[in-house]
């Protein structure tokens, strides 16, 4: 198992190198000039040339790529933002906790509410209750989150006045963004849990458990649910990984200075270092989350665990199992 984890961590290195080269190349070809944005439209041609020289933007592609990679992997630095002049890495670090709070609580809320709803719908399949909740969740899944965010602001901030509409001065500022972010997640998780549970509930081993005399509660939560968890974990892992890279729309609507807002600003300003830094950060967090998801699989499903342990010596030494499958 530890060998598997080590392998996965080592595999992240080529992924990050690949992403670095790719994003650098893409930014190289993107039209627009950061210098003109920094200096404004009134700058003279000579001023522009001087700043380009200073930033090293007049070098050929290969040399710029080389110095970018050198700076990245030898000095562990993303460089400074052209626009703010601050260190991109430090900026990402200060923004990270905000995005983490938003992503973590959204995903927890989606699971804590969505999974029980889905189970309830699956165990009462085709009842009125099931139909209604699936219809509502259909609306939830298809509702754009910026619209939902605005509606929540309208209701809770403007009409009722119980929650702040934007900013990040305390936890209450995060309640509306988390809600706006999580409602779609709740609906999605509930629908997926329902369909996944329905498939498992029909399996013979669930009948077997009933025939053994296992209580209905344990049949659902001990026999059926763990077997239905794989797609749910996959979905939530993907959502969480994606949201750690910033929820651009939500952060913009609620003026939360998170990673997503930073990335969008940087792209608008053609702030190469900031864009490259943000994208690399996103690739890194996504890889880490996916590794965690794969490790969770191993705990849920012995078949997947066996694959990870595949050729470990310990297993063969103990001489257990390995029947002719």
């Amino acid at each position: 198992m530890s060998k598997y984890i080590l392998k996965r961590i080592l595999l992240m290195i080529p992924i990050l190198v690949g992403v670095a080269i790719l994003i650098f190349t893409l930014m190289f070809f993107v039209p627009g000039d950061p210098v003109e944005i920094i200096l404004g439209s009134s700058a003279t041609q000579a001023q522009v040339e001087t700043v380009r020289e200073q930033l090293g933007l007049n070098q050929p592609y290969i040399i710029r790529l080389g110095s970018f990679l050198q700076q990245l992997f030898l000095h562990g630095s993303f460089g400074n933002s052209y626009v703010q002049g601050t260190d991109v890495g430090a900026e990402l670090l200060t923004r990270f906790p905000r995005t983490l709070i938003l992503a973590l609580f959204s995903i927890l809320l989606s699971m804590v509410v969505g999974i029980p709803l889905g189970i309830r719908a699956a165990t009462h399949a085709n009842s009125a209750e099931d139909r209604i909740s699936m219809f509502v969740s259909m609306i939830g899944v298809s509702m754009p989150n910026f619209w939902l965010a605005l509606m929540l602001v309208l209701l809770f901030a403007l009409k009722l006045g119980i929650l702040p509409s934007s900013g990040d001065k305390g936890f209450e500022y995060y309640i509306l963004p988390i809600l706006a972010n999580a409602l779609g997640g709740i609906a999605g998780v509930a629908r997926l849990t329902r369909s996944s549970m329905l498939e498992v509930i029909r399996a013979d081993y669930v009948s077997t458990a009933r025939a053994k005399g296992v209580s209905e509660h344990d049949v659902i939560y001990k026999h059926a649910l763990p077997n239905a968890m794989i797609p749910i974990i996959t979905m939530c892992g993907g959502r969480f990984g994606g949201q750690l890279g910033g929820t651009v729309v939500i952060e913009t609507v609620f003026s939360i200075p998170g990673i997503g807002a930073y990335l969008i600003n940087s792209i608008n300003n053609r702030d190469y270092n900031a864009v490259q830094g943000s994208v690399l950060y996103i690739a890194f967090t996504f890889s880490v989350v996916m590794l965690l998801v794969d490790l969770i699989y191993a705990f849920i499903d012995p078949r997947i665990k066996a694959q990870y342990e595949g050729h470990s010596k310990k297993r063969i030494k103990r001489g257990e199992v390995k029947a002719d499958a």
Binding site: D204, Y205, S207, T208, A209, P302, E320, A323
Partner: protein, 319 residues
């Protein structure tokens, strides 16, 4: 000897949006202790539903199930636990009937733990005894279902069914998913266990040679209805219902001088959704007449031989 299990006018209907499916319709039979009753019929005729309803995996729609002289048709949770200790089921597909997350030990131990009869070392000893009883090697103690072949999995399924020492086991096509060499092993295991533990089996299958090998008596079902029931010997020698005749003629003969004459039934199976009263085989029966449209009664032709056909005497030239 009194009957261990009696089933009277058992019905199991499923309502779907197309109508009511009559999966099991008015089935009556009794089964003595230590005997094996085969239930045969084509796919979808309600054999499995009958078995699942008897052991209370589904609520019966109507009728009575009498087990050891006690009416167990509608039981509350607590009594159901007691009943489950005496009635078990072995499923058809050993690939889907074992929880992929439970090891062999956990699968077999679960009913023992739930019964509160075994704990600690006694529990482990009992698990080992059961594994040995059904012939699973000790080294597979911690193996998961995906690490075993079909035969071993089915042995685990049988082991866990036997865990609480039941009197009656429904075998729902337990060998049809296995290849032939393993079929024989599992069948022999079931028969050995029956002799040692005085088990009573209801053996659901569509494999006529299997049923002949293992059963003492046979029920032939067609679209939810019981059409004929008698001892195995009698059925293979002297089947009376037109459907049984057609069904048994489908067994290939190994004697080239005396090939069986296959009775080919024409027409389509009628839908089990909201069927008309009367014999359901009538639409395909070469002997069908007006009287077949009336509901049929199970009639005793000779001792222990019941047939549900109004023209049975005429067809078979019985007085």
């Amino acid at each position: 000897m009194s009957a261990l299990l009696e089933v009277k006018h058992l019905k199991k209907y499923f309502s779907t949006h197309k109508g009511v499916v009559h999966a099991v319709d008015d089935v009556t039979f009794s089964l003595d202790e230590g005997k094996t009753m085969g239930v045969v019929g084509e796919s979808g005729c309600g054999k499995s539903t009958l078995g699942r309803t008897i052991i209370h995996l589904q609520e019966p729609t109507e009728g009575q199930i009498i087990f050891q002289g006690e009416d167990v048709t509608h039981l509350k949770r607590k009594d159901l636990d007691r009943l489950r200790e005496n009635m078990q089921i072995v499923f058809q597909d050993p690939y889907s009937s074992l929880n992929p997350r439970l090891s062999v030990r956990d699968t077999i131990a679960e009913p023992l733990i739930l019964s509160h009869k075994f704990k600690g070392a006694a529990l482990e000893k009992e698990v080992n005894r059961l594994m040995e009883l059904v012939g699973i090697e000790k080294r597979l103690h911690n193996a998961y279902p995906h690490e075993m072949d079909g035969g071993r999995r089915q042995r685990v399924g049988i082991g866990r069914a036997l865990a609480l020492n039941p009197k009656f086991i429904v075998c729902d096509e337990p060998v049809s998913a296995l290849d032939v060499s393993i079929q024989a092993q599992v069948l022999n295991l079931l028969m050995d266990l029956q002799q040692e533990n005085k088990l009573t089996y209801m053996f659901v299958t569509h494999d006529l040679s299997v049923v002949r090998h293992i059963s003492d008596s046979i029920c032939v079902m067609y679209l939810g209805q019981l059409v004929e029931t008698c001892s195995t010997e009698e059925l293979f020698k002297n089947q009376l219902h037109p459907y049984s005749k057609a069904l048994l003629s489908a067994i290939p003969s190994v004697d080239i001088h005396n090939p069986t004459k296959r009775i080919v039934i024409k027409g389509e199976i009628v839908s089990p959704i909201d069927p008309k009263p009367g014999c359901r085989f009538a639409a395909r029966c070469p002997y069908a007449c007006e009287a077949c449209k009336e509901p049929q009664k199970l009639e005793m032709i000779s001792t222990g031989h019941f047939v549900s056909c109004c023209r049975v005497k005429e067809i078979n030239q019985l007085s």
